[in-house]
């Protein structure tokens, strides 16, 4: 289980949990909390993805002499 694959499943897990929270909170009538839960999940996933995008950006700019 290389770190990349672990992060891929971690992203899926955060999204899945956020989806579950969203539907549970919506059913129990707390609509606004549901949106907050989704937003929180999205921010967490973005934090993971941004790290890899930054690494990719540096890799590409160095290999393709773009900077």
């Amino acid at each position: 289980m290389s770190p990349e694959i672990r992060d891929l499943f971690r992203i899926f897990a955060v999204g899945f949990v956020a989806a579950i929270f969203h539907t549970v909170l919506k059913q129990s009538g707390k609509e606004d909390f549901a949106h907050w839960a989704t937003l929180l999940g999205l921010v967490a996933v973005f934090a993971i993805v941004i790290g890899y995008v930054d690494h990719l950006y540096h890799e590409i700019t160095s290999v393709f002499l773009l900077q």
Binding site: E4, I5, D7, L8, F9, I11, F12, V14, G15, F16, A18, A19, H22, T23, T38, G41, L42, V45, F46, I48, V49, Y52, V53, H55, L56, E59, I60, T61, V63, F64, L65, L66
Partner: protein
């Protein structure tokens, strides 16, 4: 860069994205974006070895390195733009994908201008 590893990442990401797409389309896009970034990371390392051999060939043929540098930059822009445009199109933003591709094309034209000027100079000098 192991081809089976890349196919594995692609397959798992596709399955995970379809699982997430019903409730949360935004998360599905993020999963597919992340898988794309992973695959590109694996590929960039092997591309750099290929570019290294090209640089040796141009050095051996004692061409000016400026041509190959522009070529490598154009290649980089093409890869990144194609990746971003496909992610945008995947998320349903076809217009945005087109805008990204337009920006890539303009970038490539700007990079190719000096070489175009050199070619014209050579042609002008050939005419007596």
């Amino acid at each position: 860069m192991h081809i089976v590893q890349i196919i594995g990442i692609g397959m798992t990401a596709t399955v995970l994205a379809t699982l997430l797409r019903q409730q949360m389309p935004s998360f599905a896009t993020l999963v597919s974006l992340f898988a794309g970034v992973l695959i590109l990371l694996l590929l960039v390392r092997s591309i750099s070895t290929a570019l290294g051999t090209f640089q040796q060939l141009t050095a051996a043929a004692n061409m000016s390195p400026m041509f190959l540098q522009t070529l490598i930059r154009i290649l980089g822009i093409a890869y990144v733009v194609e990746f971003a445009a496909d992610v945008a199109r995947d998320a349903g933003e076809t217009a945005l994908g087109g805008r990204i591709e337009l920006a890539g094309k303009i970038g490539i034209v700007l990079l190719a201008l000096p070489i175009f000027k050199d070619v014209l100079d050579v042609i002008v000098h050939m005419i007596p």
